[in-house]
Symmetry: D2
Subunit: 485 residues, 4 copies
Amino acid sequence: MLTTNPFDDDTLHEECGIFGVSGSEGAAALVALGLHALQHRGQEAAGITSLDQGHFHTHRAMGHVAGNFDRDEVIRSLPGAVAAGHVRYSTSGDTALRNVQPLYAELQSGGFAIAHNGNISNAMRLRRELVRRGSIFQSTSDTETIIHLVATSNYRTLLDRFIDALKQIEGAYSLIVMTPEGMIACRDPLGIRPLVMGRLGDAVIFASETVALDVVGATFERSIDPGELVIVQGDTIRSVRPFPQVSARPCIFEWVYFSRPDSIEGDRSVYDVRKNIGAQLAVESPVEADLVIPVPDSGVPAAIGYAQESGIPFELGIIRSHYVGRTFIQPGDKVRHLGVKLKHNANRALIKGKRIILIDDSIVRGTTSLKIVQLMREAGAAEVHMRIASPPTRHSCFYGVDTPERAKLLAAKLDLGEMTDFIHADSLAFVSIDGLYKALGEARRADIRPSHCDACFTGDYPTTLTDQDETEAVDQFAMLAERVI
Amino acid sequence: MLTTNPFDDDTLHEECGIFGVSGSEGAAALVALGLHALQHRGQEAAGITSLDQGHFHTHRAMGHVAGNFDRDEVIRSLPGAVAAGHVRYSTSGDTALRNVQPLYAELQSGGFAIAHNGNISNAMRLRRELVRRGSIFQSTSDTETIIHLVATSNYRTLLDRFIDALKQIEGAYSLIVMTPEGMIACRDPLGIRPLVMGRLGDAVIFASETVALDVVGATFERSIDPGELVIVQGDTIRSVRPFPQVSARPCIFEWVYFSRPDSIEGDRSVYDVRKNIGAQLAVESPVEADLVIPVPDSGVPAAIGYAQESGIPFELGIIRSHYVGRTFIQPGDKVRHLGVKLKHNANRALIKGKRIILIDDSIVRGTTSLKIVQLMREAGAAEVHMRIASPPTRHSCFYGVDTPERAKLLAAKLDLGEMTDFIHADSLAFVSIDGLYKALGEARRADIRPSHCDACFTGDYPTTLTDQDETEAVDQFAMLAERVI
Amino acid sequence: MLTTNPFDDDTLHEECGIFGVSGSEGAAALVALGLHALQHRGQEAAGITSLDQGHFHTHRAMGHVAGNFDRDEVIRSLPGAVAAGHVRYSTSGDTALRNVQPLYAELQSGGFAIAHNGNISNAMRLRRELVRRGSIFQSTSDTETIIHLVATSNYRTLLDRFIDALKQIEGAYSLIVMTPEGMIACRDPLGIRPLVMGRLGDAVIFASETVALDVVGATFERSIDPGELVIVQGDTIRSVRPFPQVSARPCIFEWVYFSRPDSIEGDRSVYDVRKNIGAQLAVESPVEADLVIPVPDSGVPAAIGYAQESGIPFELGIIRSHYVGRTFIQPGDKVRHLGVKLKHNANRALIKGKRIILIDDSIVRGTTSLKIVQLMREAGAAEVHMRIASPPTRHSCFYGVDTPERAKLLAAKLDLGEMTDFIHADSLAFVSIDGLYKALGEARRADIRPSHCDACFTGDYPTTLTDQDETEAVDQFAMLAERVI
Amino acid sequence: MLTTNPFDDDTLHEECGIFGVSGSEGAAALVALGLHALQHRGQEAAGITSLDQGHFHTHRAMGHVAGNFDRDEVIRSLPGAVAAGHVRYSTSGDTALRNVQPLYAELQSGGFAIAHNGNISNAMRLRRELVRRGSIFQSTSDTETIIHLVATSNYRTLLDRFIDALKQIEGAYSLIVMTPEGMIACRDPLGIRPLVMGRLGDAVIFASETVALDVVGATFERSIDPGELVIVQGDTIRSVRPFPQVSARPCIFEWVYFSRPDSIEGDRSVYDVRKNIGAQLAVESPVEADLVIPVPDSGVPAAIGYAQESGIPFELGIIRSHYVGRTFIQPGDKVRHLGVKLKHNANRALIKGKRIILIDDSIVRGTTSLKIVQLMREAGAAEVHMRIASPPTRHSCFYGVDTPERAKLLAAKLDLGEMTDFIHADSLAFVSIDGLYKALGEARRADIRPSHCDACFTGDYPTTLTDQDETEAVDQFAMLAERVI
């Protein structure tokens, strides 16, 4: 058996989305809708925890929100006016339900549930220390580290214990926490991962993206500030800012690929920025051609921008199947040599004899680009020019995005000419790093304290990477891990 | 519990797609890929039958091809060089596996498997007669009628018996039949439903659309002629044309909506024709506006055509979720009043304050159009003009397309002004029936013997409708039907 | 993987049990209870059909009655005051739901459901003739032959058509039939398979054994006579006897093994008869010993009879696990050499040093007896004497009992001395054929027209065996059979 | 829907059985067989953990061993020469997989797996203290307390930490523990729950009962001593006895009901003891009657003893269905009034007009006895005398047996005459407490330091019952518990 869809492993994957509601009876139903709108941020598992008169209720499931959380008996089993949920993309094969969030623990202070988007870059070191002192972990998730830090903190109140825990962790995190007293939403001091706040009547809503507010009919109020904790207890909302203030570094890849185009990030429309990037590409790397063709669906806004700027017509030259999920396991040895086009098919009648410009959001391993160029050539394209709506991806992410190790990133190994040859294109161009910042409304990238985390393009990581420097220890830990089937 | 997606019941549904392979070991794997490419023609069930050394093997499953026919053990259980399959959209709630095709029977001549796209319009009358003479039906499918006609025919050879059966049925049918001797593909005398032939090496392939040939890497050879039977036995291919020749009447709605845009029908690109319709709409019904916005995804080609003809920019003003299948069952009574946007969400930043032209493929009940216009208004659109890439749908289809009864078709009840009011648009226009034929390269619709079946727009049905005239008998029959759970 | 339970294939299997209720709202719930009480007659699948205001409703499931038919939603889906059901032991590996009874067909007269215990010994010949005339079979069950004979009969009324069908079939059958008019129960002219009638309030009940009447709280009224049809229409019950009268030949193995000991057959307690056989064995084949030990559970009544007659104490020397169903698939290659005792374990403390008499109901292949004797020897038995509560089984059954082909029956190959050696016993004795009839209250077996069918012991088959004489044709037919997975 | 089997809740339930193997490649396959032989000790869930080159592998499943652990892929997923397993009867409705044993944790010393038979009577107090210090529990099982005590112990070696933990717990426990170094089996200082050791070639085996040794072909070596730890590391076996020696108090109910009759406990055959109890009953409480009838299956050995002592014939007057598991959910409201006999049916022909003596092992709530007496009367019994093979059960067990609260124990509420009336018997007698000890070979019960724990009969609990005295705290704890669905 063989997984034949050649494109599946060749994108970056956001590891999760989170959504919380406080102050609306039947909150879990809203959370299910919100998570559904965030499904693009994680498709492998989902979970919701609700709080009803001091009791916590949790349901976790592998797979999509639809099919799992749209059943009445599930939603009825999650009563209460406070609820939070999580969608997850898992990086390794051994995903078990015990790793699906929200995670839950009974602490001395009562129940404690947590949903996390991001990645703690010193989780392994903290974990080893906690285990040495007698803590017992139930999952392999870095998020569980936070719970044990809270459980074993010497501070008295839950809030102080939680802040104590946050001060020990490094990396990227947007969190929604539920305790018997209420809900806490917070964002790491650099604001690497997004988190917004909205209102639906009297209820307060937290979400990874504004599109989830739209879907439940809520109004967007503001983004959570980097380093801010928003505490909702009944009707009271208050903010705590326990960290020294630093300049923010939100993830620039949210603009390029992760967020839905109908989301608003930091007061800018994601769709608009992507069109701007396309237009910028047309200015930086023009080419004479007959058609501008997006690699669907993520390349569409940039292609529209490129077409409008260049005056070359925008056309659907590649048709994407609605019925391909993450994989179609291709049966039989024989057919895999046929070059099947399960996910993308060429619009042959349109392509034949034309000079085309392909627009895609990024190049990771390069295998997708290669296949797409081949698809166009087999359909009779006269020339194939590839334009990429982001700079070359040369570095791994350690802040909650599933990137291949550096050695597998095409742009980390090859120069532009070699990449052009590798994908068999007539020409290839990436938007410049300054061009990307221009599309965001800035003059260019600031060399000192740039306004975003762009480490995947520049290698300029805004935090220390403790675990990364201790890889051997990580491997040793895995040695002892239980495999539960 | 409530199915809340308001758009689901408001499109026309093709009832099936068929795909057959003769002459390639492991044929079932190719059939699985071909059916996957035809999934848009039927999503509720699928089946494959293979033929190996005189033995027939069948697997049927509810649901999509992916998840059911991409497993090695399933494909291995379907050995042989000859295989055919079927994807099905079922019209009623009691779909059981026994109705999933290919249907199979053991006749005196040996096994007989059949896959059918279309609808037999005198099936009920034939069935009553067969039951009276002692035939026992195992399904409620009209297709089974053909099998019993073959089984009880007085002719001697299987081919003569099959032709005898076809001469007794009326309506629309593209069929793939398998017998121990080989495969027969045929199309009704009017060619209402499509069927094409292709080649992959020495193998012969039959498919509802050319896109399925592309996906398996086969080359398109020709369409099966109306009234033609193509018989493949080992290396021999021959044609039989047992019907008097009449002018063809292929379904015009295949161009408007059913077929994938990357398919070729009768030597024309479906994508091209749809763009032509959009351009024709711009000529027939221009309007001053800022943006041309497709209702995704079926409205996209016509919107591109409209934008190119009118010079008004094409933009993605509505974002469609990739994660909505046919339904998301909305949990809880409360949230259904929120006007949720699970499937379509407005790109608010783009829409706000703009005069927009919405392009959709058709209006059935009108409920979708109403919701989409509301969505645009809530997002702040200044004006909303709706343009429809087909004439008003005023009549039911009896040839294999699931249409609501006439009384529920918006255009059968309201005139243009009333429809405009109903959907709350500032203006509404449909392409003219002559404009539709123009987009297909004709000067206008021929009043006598038009080149297509356009009964859904004109009420001009090309065959008699025996069962339709005997509705009471049909209802009585249903009374006795067994319900197997 | 290996099925290691060495005893599983070494018993005879009854192929089914049937149960019907007419005249009690919610009849299906009673049928579920009745089938549960008949579960020992067939464990692989079960089905129930109910009749409600002219509509038939059917549910079929692989596996036991418990777990499938004890769910409210299943019973609610089977409304009406008339219902019948079937439990099945299938003889071949390809059991599919379509073979699970009651079978159902829509005839011109309306719905027709049938449940069958027995075997039609000319089913293959009839089937070939029906297929030649255009009948299409949906199952491989011999029972379906009856339906097609009814469907194609030239008689006018349903009852005449049914009798016409019965007159064409030979073999053993107890049937419960449901039509829109009501229920028909009947038994073949020789009465080979059992069928009794009972009452529960106003309702009429039919069942394979009286134990099923007990379980639903019904009173036993009488056995259905050989060749009798009992027709229940609303409150009316009438009998039809369309066959010439012949002397009955009920299956004698029902007394030996099939029926539950708490059933009454032909006015005699099955438990009593089995004790009588044990006592007869003690008279015919005494032996000096310390303990009488039953092979559980079927050997228990005969062992009690043997112990009481001989004065040797009855003891539980073999403990049977409650948790072994039909199989425990023994994992791994290694452990299967350990001689595991998953189903039966020796009561070592009791056995050690003792001379024991083992009592079992029958010897089929002899493998069970061999294992049981070994088990006793390993536990330290000083002497092991085997006594069998039936004569040697030397012939196959063609009347609905799953027997191995003759060549695999131990008693067909070996004489008594050889069998004693084969099972490693110190002595072996079977009850004599006359002794068996004595236990039933007769002086001895009548040479002419014996009172029972005892063909498995004597080879004296009471009907012709048409299909058996045409085995080649049967094999040829199987060649063309579809395998549906 | 209603669970109608009236007998199900009216027995005492052992809460578990444990089985471990050290030193045999493919150990998990042996553990599966051993657990299958112990299935009567717990039917709701099972789990196996194996140890292979420092890696732990675990599989847990709800339901029986057969059907879950007899699949090759499961056993292959549990590699290694060391493995242990657990079968569980759960006392409460919220049994989740996370409570199924063996429990597993990663401690600083490496993996730690534990399987537990018994009950820790100060678990709640210890848990509260551990949570206060920052421990996070993942299950509601008392067994997890032991793991946290080990994790947070101040001793250095794993063995010292484990002994430190054992010294803090009170109650009943037989444990099998696995660490990367090997296996530890131990029994609480009073030896309340059983644990035996056997050999299979070079492998060491631990099991709750000897029957599990028989089934895997192992030889019985000895019982683990009360308070003994047996440590197996590779080829080395050593014993540690860290507790001050006290006189043992094994559970006397193992003799009466829990253990299989083919097990040996403390050098005595369970079957023999049960026959002795029956004989003792015949001596203590004789009655003139025609038949001795066991309540199957647990009453059979005592009934044989009673019959042999009294000379009254032993007969099967009640037939038990093989196909009733724990429940048959009786469908529909109507039938539950019918007094159905799904599990037990009277052998009417035998019972009618007879004076019978019923033998059962114990009376808990009394509802079963009432039903059984009614069953006999409805079958026509002239007199019904009930004899019970244990003294009246008047007190709850806190050592791992699921007993109803005291208020529901019939003998705690009524005197002998009232009980006789309640169950509608003509007479009722229990064996005396001294008679029970006589059956075990003692002269009578020792008033000081009796040889067994007989608290369920006498109220003489051999340990303190800390949690029992703090019930309110327990209730409060439950308030905060998460309900995961």
